[in-house]
């Protein structure tokens, strides 16, 4: 499974149709990525992938790479 679905979620949550993501991308690189939108992102990914993240997993998502790691830990097999 490619990163495209994850990228699509980011573009939707941040309302930026040309947004690109990379493993090292953090909230400090993205306008509007505050804790409110962090949860919006988490909820959107849960809906997209049919998952439920634990609070610890959400707290561990300091960058996009961490987020993808969690998806893969949950069996999604997302590749860059």
């Amino acid at each position: 499974m490619s990163i495209d679905r994850v990228r699509a979620v980011f573009r939707d949550v941040f309302d930026n149709p040309t947004m690109e993501i990379a493993p090292g991308l953090t909230a400090q690189d993205v306008d509007g990525w505050d804790s409110f939108n962090h949860i919006n992102l988490v909820v959107a990914l849960e809906d997209e992938f049919g998952l439920s993240f634990t609070t610890d997993q959400i707290a561990g998502m300091a960058n996009v790479g961490d987020l993808v790691d969690v998806l893969n830990d949950l069996g999604q097999d997302v590749s860059w």
Partner: protein, 304 residues
Amino acid sequence: MTTEPEAWVARFNEELRTQAPYMSSTVSRARERFGPAWSTAFGETLGHVIGDDEAFRKAVKGYVRFALDATKLQRSFEKELVYRISSYAEAAAEVYHNKEYMEGLYLPGILLSHYLWPHHYEQLRYFQQHFLPLIVAADDQQVVDVGVGTGFYSRQALVGAPDATCTAYDISEHSMGYARRQVRAFGGEGRWRGELRDVVADTPDQQWPFLVSVEVLEHLEDPVEFLVALRTMLRPAGRAFITAAITAPNADHIYLYEDVAAVEAQLVEAGFEVLDWREDIAYEPRAAEPVPRLAAFIVTRSEA
């Protein structure tokens, strides 16, 4: 020149930005809104209560988990408009007697939220400006803190009123241990006594001139029953500081207050007279969604 409290705040900010980059504006927003007094108070708490490197990292982690948990629950609440749990037994098992949850998330989260969540800090300022002076001016400065939690308000009373003594009750052994450490960290241990006790099931015979009960009501299936017990513990003409969370889901919030009037109605039903109150909001709603609020009341016993 950077003071020691400011250095603690800077260190906290750096750790928070590392662990949770999406929370990187939390400290600057609070500092901007509340000014240097906030920095000093927050920094002193960090320095006194949190302390060494490992405890510091764990406290930040606890706060991040606590804040994310609350935010995620708020998102669900905006759609469903009900709290997730409805029984005290569930809350007690999941939270109050769960050592990992209490010490790893809940207690550090609540402690730090007193400074990092604007509505919590406004409530603290209201306590300091409107309730503490009542204690300081009194001949008898005995205080009872019911639902001591982290010990934060016990500490505020003891530090703000240097002649006051405080008895604290809670049903959680983890809260009581944390509260004892906080009070000790601020030099209040000689004037503070903590006891594990359910004041509804076993109401103390003693009455106090001052009573504090902060954000307990929303944790109960029957808040009026609890308020009746508090009234019994308050001396006639005594003063109580009682607060509640409104439309604010949390892992252990059971009773959903829709507005301030709902809390006031229960206070009156339990036999209190409201002398003063204030409401604070966590953030401005983006549309018409419910947002977390706090209502704080200064009350006395109604003798009508």
